[in-house]
Symmetry: C2
Subunit: 152 residues, 2 copies
């Protein structure tokens, strides 16, 4: 199973818990999975508990070091500005993401953080990996939410 | 003691622990202090453990709710893009900060997040409160660090 497929599994598990279906993995320089998570905003009552931030924090804790040099962040959705900026702070080397997020993304949309002249560390990044699958999960989730009040 | 003075105390305590001296408080709508913290990046080995993010997470946990509506975030330094974006996610109503940060700030500098057309929630904000005192702490800390290797 590819890392993105594993991240998509995390997103599906998040949806099953009533969380926005976004999943993430953090890979060591040798490709080993250091951490995996889905969104836990509702479960933790923490608006910052996005999957990306959770896996960066967990991987740093697992390694016992502040920085994640040489590591890769895999996320099913384009990270928001908070998570994109956190990837700079953690010195993540590579970012691979699924669906683009024109409304909430901070990499290719909005503030486009890594394009800012003052950005202190820019991961290499690629978007659009398994984007259809990721976008379908989000559409299904928000579609269900919209239908829910009327359908009961 | 004003909230900013209390946040400066947190910054001083952070410096004493070897952390970048930035402090923050999170105030309830009635002005009560819900959480206070200094940077804990080194202590937690967590590059996202900025004072601002710590107090938002702690206050949400204390209240048992994801959002901090009506609340005020007080920080001794202009928040970075990660923390500024987190304040949007937490729906913080007001942000009061001390020194401006032309290199690392994300409110009045860099991506200027709350000026972005797609920003989902903009706190009201004011900067420059007790900025001399805050900037002096940072200068002393980084000056000491620069001197340290040669002075031993």
């Amino acid at each position: 199973m590819t890392p993105m497929q594993r991240a998509l599994d995390q997103a599906r598990a998040a949806a099953a818990r009533g969380e926005v279906p976004v999943g993430a993995l953090l890979l060591a320089p040798d490709g080993r999975v250091l951490a995996g998570a889905g969104n836990e905003v509702e479960a933790r009552r923490d608006a910052s508990a996005h999957a990306e931030l959770l896996v960066m924090r967990a991987a740093a804790a697992a390694l016992g070091q502040t920085r994640l040099e040489g590591c890769t962040l895999v996320a099913t959705l384009e990270p928001c500005p908070m998570c994109a900026a956190a990837a700079s702070h953690f010195r993540v080397a590579r970012l691979v993401f699924g669906a683009y997020d024109p409304k909430g993304g901070g990499v290719e949309h909005g503030p486009r953080l890594y394009h800012q002249p003052g950005c202190l560390h820019r991961p290499e990044w690629i978007g659009g990996v398994s984007e259809r699958e990721s976008a379908a999960l989000l559409r299904a989730f928000f579609g269900d939410l919209r239908r829910a009040p009327g359908s009961e």
